[in-house]
């Protein structure tokens, strides 16, 4: 890549950043949606319970139909509120869970590979190779690699 190519890439980068659609974080939309979700989750059942009492306390079919509408509004509020809450509150948790899962899978794959090949960890093998080129004892290098592994997982 020549200097011209790089200048071109930087200019393209600047243009693309300028064209990005950014949301102002000051609006706190995510937090607002979570709060709305919680409000819906609380208000929805309240509406439904109130509707039951309204319907139970009258023999007037018109009032009972109104109560049914209020009850359905309550159910809708609870469902929508639940969805908003799950979207806002669980997204962060699920992100960490997924990252954790990826890490665990990586560690599991390392263990499996080591067990199948009957060798030490790749880091230890590399350290041993490096030690051989430096003229150190492989055991010494493996200890060093083991220390590194321990510090990584610790």
């Amino acid at each position: 890549m020549s200097d011209n190519d790089n200048t071109e890439r930087v200019e393209r980068f600047k243009a693309e950043v300028a064209a990005m659609h950014l949301r102002d974080p000051a609006t706190g939309l995510d937090r607002l949606l979570v709060r709305l979700g919680v409000a819906g989750l609380v208000a929805g059942p309240c509406f439904s319970i109130a509707a039951w009492f309204i319907a139970h306390g009258t023999r007037n079919p018109l009032q009972q139909r109104d109560a049914i509408v209020v009850g359905l509004i309550g159910v809708t509020l609870a469902v929508v509120g639940g969805a908003l809450f799950v979207k806002g509150a669980m997204a962060g948790f699920l992100r960490f869970w997924m990252a954790r899962l990826c890490y665990e899978q990586g560690a599991q794959a390392d263990r499996l590979a080591a067990a199948l090949t009957g060798r030490t960890s790749p880091e230890a093998a590399e350290a041993a190779a490096a030690a051989a080129s430096d003229g150190r004892a492989p055991a010494e290098a493996e200890t060093a690699a083991g220390d590194k592994d321990a510090s990584r997982t610790g």
């Binding site: 190519d5 890439r9 930087v10 980068f13 899978q105 490096a130």
Partner: protein
């Protein structure tokens, strides 16, 4: 916080050449994990085509700073400017799409996918997956021999090569590297930093966080020391090297 907008540029004194604006700039960046603040006002800038090394002991906040820059961690104060535009709150996906690429600590590859599949995952819209693969194999011939192997069964060095190749597949304008040398033998580290130096020669702006000071200072144009959530020193690599032992040992 006010509305998003361009960074206000201070007017240079009359007669002086106008310096190029930084490609990436952090101003008074604060970030926290819950109630614990780990970045206490970080100021740092990366110029176009520059390699900037950030050094510091464990717990200094280096990785958090990179995560904030890449849109993976929210700011609790301050501003991040990319190409002159405030990007507070921009998603990591959007930043990666425009060309700010983070190669995370711990490699971040998919262990249950093959090398080829990992590379293809990196090829987003507008990039030909075959071209991405060929470029990666040309840069790291060892990956070509392992193309059908599960990434989780590669050695540490090969995994890091794959992570770097996957990052480069997005044709980044800014490459952000976190602890490239973690858990690797010195020979492998030197090989990887050889590739970083090659990228720097091609003019990619690189911000690298590292504890392996000797190798990274050989590649960097500027270096910074980070301690306790703040950037305490920025300067030429030689100058920073002389201050490193005091920074690490508290002398």
């Amino acid at each position: 916080m006010t509305a998003l907008g361009p960074a206000p540029a201070p007017a240079p004194p009359a007669g002086d050449p106008v310096p190029a604006p930084p490609l990436v700039e952090l101003r008074g960046v604060r970030a926290a994990y819950g109630t614990i603040e780990v970045l206490h006002g970080v100021d740092l800038s990366l110029m176009p085509g520059e390699v900037l090394a950030v050094l510091g002991p464990n717990g200094a906040g280096k990785t958090t700073m990179l995560n904030v820059l890449a849109g993976l961690h929210p700011l609790s104060g301050g501003d991040v400017f990319v190409a002159g535009r405030r990007t507070n709150g921009a998603s990591a996906a959007d930043l990666a799409r425009v060309g700010l690429c983070l190669v995370p600590e711990g490699r971040g590859i998919f262990p249950n996918l093959t090398v080829r599949e990992n590379l293809r995952m990196a090829a987003h819209a507008g990039h030909d997956p075959r071209a991405v693969e060929e470029a990666a194999y040309e840069r790291f011939p060892r990956l070509a021999q392992r193309r059908r192997q599960l990434a989780g069964t590669l050695s540490g060095g090969e995994q890091q090569m794959l992570a770097l190749a996957r990052g480069l597949a997005t044709d980044p304008a800014v490459l952000v590297l976190d602890e490239l040398s973690m858990g690797l033998a010195p020979l492998v580290v030197e090989e990887l930093y050889g590739q970083v130096a090659e990228l720097a020669r091609r003019g990619v702006s690189i911000l690298v966080v590292e504890q392996f000071a000797r190798v990274v200072l050989g590649v960097a144009d500027r270096a910074a020391i980070m301690l306790g959530g703040r950037v305490t020193d920025v300067g030429a690599p030689d100058e920073i090297e002389s201050k490193l032992s005091a920074a690490y040992l508290g002398g």
